[in-house]
């Protein structure tokens, strides 16, 4: 019996010891073996995440603004129901979890490793992100947002003006970072300026100017800052300084192409989106009495916007394909019986309806009818800025691999934009250190045309000689713009000429067109909504995203677009001054 007791005792002991050692062993299994620990983070790899997420954020913001400013299609029919709060989730998520979180985690690490260049880039992109968030949503969280592992899950918003001031501070510290001596090696991947610190300083200063110009209606102190920056003149005024993200041609693993190239150039099914009829009409026809003027290198055609064939690619050069089931409005358009909506001004000399002419085929603003199988006829984004096909009137269906193969750019800030900004500053603030409003208008249009016309070469595409606009055509176009400016009798109509050219130069950038439209109300001939006469008050800011309103107990009340204007802090224009 004693023997047995010993056995039991021993068995019990072995069991107990065994269990305990096993229990200790369990701690080992709490660490994820598939990922490194946070302590191993690398500044340059963080910076890559920030740069990449910034592109995504900016593209989201640009598409949202672009659809409201008729560059892209807006479905409608009312402002209150076209978007739902979750339409803006993507922009919010990429801003906070992509750019802001990783930038904030990276900056202290970069500072401790003397990687000031990297932290400067992160701060500059943070500022651009924060300012754009305010532009789009108004008051947004920042000072309480993203505080690491102990994060406040319900961060309160900062007033828009405060956040804008924070963005200016971030830019100042970015400039200091760029200038700080004793910095460690620069970033492994600078996807914007390829390691050129001076260009980053120029970018930060231009961004400061942009933000100050944005608040000019509500903040008188901004004017002195604008003056200061214009006088110093370290601004993006040369295409080599353009702040633009350059996409690649890699089709898969990873898809590195311009996002609109991916949508517009699939293997089958045709173009996956509509371009706004208004924008196409503005480029192709507005200056020519509503007739589409296609530039050609020859004596036959001497007018037309030289950028047209670069901006837009037609899959068909006419409308012979039209049947009522694919394009029901065609028979009532300018080509049919012209039964355009009664609230439209004259078509097509004052606004487009249904189609633009010569095969340009998009959608009217607020046309909420169902989408017919018209993918093979829709006009696609051209070689600029999406890296698509150059329109040599070939009228062929889009293909997966075509033109610039997607090696386009996101034109976040171009030298032409600076020129238009300076033109605006000269006109409305009388700040003329860098030339008059007219001189800067000319500079802007010229810079834009140069940029666009030289783009195919930059992405290795050869354009047929006979389709390259001649120098005479370029001159004719610039002279036409200047003559429009000269014949304008009021500052308001002069501003309209400037902002119209800014609008045309900003193809692919819905961030600035949306800002400009709210700040200046220009271009002043935006196409009216098509399905209903009154789509409600123009959305002066976006809905707060679903992911913000529904998940954050400190979020402000949701907006009521269409019924209220929901203006952001820098917008003191009347509620109904734009439609």
């Amino acid at each position: 019996m004693k023997y047995k007791k010993i056995i039991y005792a021993l068995a019990g002991l072995i069991l107990w010891v065994g269990m305990n050692s096993c229990k200790k062993d369990l701690n080992r299994l709490l660490n994820n073996p598939n990922a490194p620990t946070p302590e191993t983070a690398d500044v340059d790899l963080y910076l890559n995440a920030v740069q990449g997420n910034f592109v995504q954020f900016w593209s989201n913001a640009s598409d949202n603004g672009g659809s409201l400013t008729r560059q892209l299609f807006w479905n409608g029919p009312y402002y209150r129901n076209n978007f739902s709060p979750n339409s803006f989730d993507g922009e919010w998520i990429s801003a906070y979890t992509g750019v802001i979180k990783n930038a904030q985690a990276m900056i202290p690490l970069a500072q401790s490793q003397k990687k000031y260049f990297q932290s400067g880039i992160a701060r500059a992109l943070l500022a651009f992100t924060l300012g754009t968030l305010v532009d789009d949503f108004g008051d947004v969280p920042y000072s309480e947002a993203n505080l690491g592992l102990e994060a406040n899950l319900n961060p309160k918003v900062d007033p828009g003006a405060t956040a804008y001031a924070t963005a200016q501070t971030l830019l100042d510290s970015a400039i200091l970072d760029f200038q700080k001596p004793g910095a460690a090696a620069g970033p492994a991947n600078d996807l914007y300026y390829d390691g050129d610190k001076d260009k980053w300083i120029t970018m930060a200063k231009t961004l400061k100017l942009k933000f100050y110009m944005q608040v000019r209606l509500v903040d008188n102190s901004a004017i002195a800052k604008i003056q200061e920056l214009v006088t110093e003149n370290d601004l993006i005024d040369d295409p080599s300084e353009d702040f633009a993200f350059r996409f690649g041609t890699n089709l898969a693993s990873p898809d590195s192409r311009h996002p609109h190239y991916g949508i517009d150039y699939p293997a089958s099914g045709g173009v996956g989106e509509y371009i706004g009829d208004y924008f196409m009409w503005m480029v192709a026809a507005q200056k020519y009495g509503g007739n589409v003027n296609l530039p050609t290198n020859g004596p036959a055609a001497t007018s037309g916007d030289p950028r047209l064939r670069y901006y837009l690619y037609r899959q068909a050069t006419n409308y012979s394909w039209v049947d009522p089931s694919i394009c029901p409005c065609y028979t009532t358009s300018q080509y049919g019986t012209a039964q355009y909506p009664s609230w439209y001004p004259s078509v097509p000399d004052q606004t487009p309806y249904c189609v633009v002419g010569k095969g340009y085929f998009g959608r009217d603003f607020g046309d909420n009818s169902g989408a017919p199988p018209d993918g093979n006829y829709r006009t696609a984004w051209g070689i600029y800025p999406a890296g698509g096909q150059f329109d040599a009137s070939q009228g062929e269906t889009v293909e997966l691999i075509m033109g610039g193969k997607g090696a386009g750019i996101s034109p976040m800030w171009l030298s032409s934009f600076t020129a238009f900004l300076l033109s605006e500053a000269a006109l409305v603030l009388n700040i003329t250190d860098q030339g008059s409003a007219r001189e800067n208008l000319q500079k802007g249009v010229t810079a834009s045309i140069d940029k666009v016309l030289s783009f195919p070469a930059a992405v290795g595409v050869t354009v047929p000689d006979d389709k390259i606009p001649s120098a005479a055509q370029v001159t004719n176009y610039i002279n036409l713009v200047l003559s429009n400016y000269d014949t304008a009798t009021t500052d308001d109509s002069r501003l309209n000429v400037i902002m119209t050219e800014y609008y045309l130069a900003a193809w692919g950038n819905g961030v600035e067109t949306y800002n400009n439209y709210r700040l200046t109300g220009k271009p002043n001939n935006m196409q009216p909504a098509r399905a209903v006469a009154d789509p409600g008050l123009f959305m002066r800011s976006f809905f707060y995203p679903n992911v913000f309103i529904n998940r954050n107990s400190n979020a402000p009340a949701q907006k009521d677009p269409g019924n209220t204007a929901d203006k952001v802090f820098w917008d003191n224009n009347p509620d109904n001054f734009i439609h």
Binding site: A151, L251, V459
Partner: protein
Amino acid sequence: MRKLTLLLLGVTLLFAQQTWAQNTITGQVTDANGLPIARATIKIKDGGGGTTAGNDGTFKIVAPANAILIISAVGFENITVPVNNRQVVPVSLTQVTSSLNEVVVTAYGIKREKKALGYAVSTVTSKDLELKPENDIARILNGKAPGVNVLSTSGLSGSGTNINIRGISTITGGSTPLFVVDGVAFDGSTNAQGNFTYGNTTSSRFLDLDPNNIESISILKGLAAATQYGENGRNGVIIVTTKNGSTQKTRTKSEISVSQSYSVIKAILPEYNDGYGGGFDESSGVVFFSNWGSAFTNPPEIVTHPYDKSRLNDIFPQYKGAPYERKYYSSVPNFFRSGNNKTTSINAAGTTGGNLNYNINYSYTDDKGYLENNGLVKNSFGMGGTAKLTNKFTVSGTVNYVITDQKAPPTSDSYGNNASNSSIFGNVLYTPTSMDLMGLPYESPLDHSQVYYRNSNDIQNPRWTLYNAFTKDKVHRIFGKIQAGYELTKGLSLTYKIGYDNYSEEQEYSQNKGGLYTPTGLLRTTSGNSTIWNNQLYLNYYGNLGKDFTIEAYAGADKTSQQYSQTGQKSQQQLVYGLMNHTNFISHDEYSEDGSELNYKKEQISLGVYSFVTVGYRNFAYITAGGRNSWSSTVEEQNRSIFYPNISASFIPTTAFTSLQNSNFLKYLKLRVGYSTSASFPTPYNTRPYLAIAPRVFVSSVGTVVNINSIPNRKPNSNLKPELLGEVEAGLESKLWNNRITVDLTLYQRTSKDQILESPTDPASGYTSTFINAGKVTNKGIELALGVTVVNLKDWKWQVDGIYSINKSKVTEIPADLSDILISGYSNFGTFATNGAPLGVIKASSFQKDPKTGQRVVGSDGNYITNTTPTIIGDPNPLYKLSGISTLSYKSISFRMQWDYTVGGEMFSSTAAALLGRGVTKDTKFDRKTPWILPGVLENGEPNNIEISSSQVFYGNGLPNGAANEVGIFDQTCIRLREVSISYSVPPSMLTHLPIGGLSIGVSGSNLWYYAPNFPKYTHFDPESSGLSVGNGRGMEFLSGPSARRFGASIRITF
């Protein structure tokens, strides 16, 4: 009770006075084959004491020469033997068939008397499992045990299967029951490599079990039964005893049996519209998506050839200007083939005469599904044996090796308006009936790219999909155990068991270039390796405490470690058409199409110590109390240890009260009640922060590769705790009317609180979600099994069994800021956990309803107005389920039928809605010229009076993702003839001249017929399907394919 005791005492005294001379009697208890039965109980009738036989069956007892001995043993019928002045009394017992002393296999393969159990156990034996036309053990179990729900993901051979017991009690955790094979854990998971939108038909790994090698299955439903397994048993336990694992049973002879079966597999297809063809609004073209064209004419109208278009004229000059007959082509029925299943199974059971038993088997299954390129080949080898050693050791072991090789075309979700990704069914079932799918080319002769009839080529030709898109799943699996038992003293034994289950699973998803969805081609391969080590050590004591009490106690410890690792690669941009090899692709990465990582490993360990004791009182009252303490590696130390107690009792009034003992009507009554608890631990790696890394997120135009590290979007929660489950269960078992009626009734209520939920957070916090513990799911239900022996004559026997299950779930206590928790599907169209609603209600866009009348509101264009904000449009949980099994036998001919009846519950059926919306079935073979007025009211409340065309009614207001998705909601009520079989065993007398010992033949069929009255009649839609892959989602189907009907014959010869 006091009266009863006095009565018993009086009886004892009365007989004591008449005591005869006492003799010492010896004997041995054996079974019908003369093999000893261990530990039988020998009692002297009328109160003369008793003894227990030894392991060799021998006993010694002092008894009067005229005494009557009552001998009982677990698993055998009680017997009374008069001593008749003998000194040596041999006792032969017969095995229990359906008597009161039924034995069931409970946790760890321990056999226990059913009457002592305080919880419900259902048992299914080999005769209900083998020689079926179906290979999937879970699908065979469907309808055979109350409370068990089985739902297949597709009718394709080898596709995954959902199985769950007593409803689903977790929102985000696993709900598949634990499979225990021969006493050790067996992985039954489904290792899908992408979500349902990528069309996986990944097999569930219980497919590796061979139904022909199964001796019996016990299903432990409640938590009480599963406590020994720890938290892994919380979803119920399916205990499988294989023939190789059942060698403990004593045997007398060696036997080899060979069986062969063959069955045919047919898809159950809709009946197509042979009156109207492709088009819209009565048009007569054929290149339309819809089948709303004009009526067919005789002779057929000649129309423009669908392949006569500029896009195709160069490729197919033969169709330029060619005539095309607009008629019914029977395209879809011809697309399917007749599949078949061949199964060969050989089993050898041997013995050396008591101390060494062994079993060896091999089986081969070749299953060709109802589509080309769908099939399953399974090779199973197995052996097992038990040796009783002379030194009180018993050792046994099993080892099984299975190779399962499955292939199928992908089945992505579709809504009748193209599929999300390549889908074999998503594009074929609504083919316009005037489209000659089988007679026209499906690929370009130039580059093999897909071609089809639409102008912009925007439907992927289903035949192209069939020959160019593949999923493959190949498994090599080895599982088995070694067990050693040692008898320390009489009644006390120590057992050690080590179980091992390891498989490698190679999966492939590939598509040639030239398709619509992955135009450049795709190849994704993964190789997964799963290992479960299961160590168990337990002491087991069985004995008597005094005269009236029996005691059975277990105490032990176990450790289960689960490891899964996977490597994989995805490649795109195929170089040369046809070859599926990563080197034939240009770009490569390590992410699945849905973005999940293909390379990872995970490991978790669960430790437990447990003890439970059953005390029995005079064979009529039993109480079991026990508990387990578990430690799991997936939570931090402070939350790691969890203790879960359980207690249950059973009471048998028919044994306890003499007044009940002689009733002919009530033969047996058992009442039971129990309370038990369990836990559900989270998946690994959610408590600690880590850094996300991703290589190659961008390649610049000059080839610079950009890599990143970033902070993950899910916030770790260091205080994450397990979900806690508690269950009350009460039941009744009875045998009535001379044992001709058996009743087994269970009522239960299970609550599962502290649900592990992924709480979405404001991205401004830096995170998009974090896991939290919140919310409660309650499941209440009734399970009833009723058996009636209607006829019990010498030659004729008719047994009818009815099974009834009802389960009601309810979600509560979800924090207000988490309005909806998505279970499966899309965030605006899926199944959700919502406070106050049953678990898994379907939310989707709905039709706007008039608040006064509840009628649908019609807009000024005559169409219904859609409410895009998702609302609850259906509850997929059936009201109740009923199964009826009839077994009629005449001599050795047996005829068996199983009918299943599911009542209530709604489902979203893309198939039914799309077939109707596209006008392809006979349901829409009506005069299409008549204008329609949709039932409903106008926005001003007046009845709708706006006429629209039939196309517009069915297409515009009927097709999901165009009209409100509510249009796809149907009631699931369905009656089904699940199984029919006729078998005949040749009587041994007829075989005496042959060298064989037994011969039986049979014909059987499964899923032969069903009728779902609330679905459109000619769609023949089978509501028993799921498009949500294997998981917790139910009640949604996205053109997931028809179900299969199987029937065939089998023969078994025993040597």
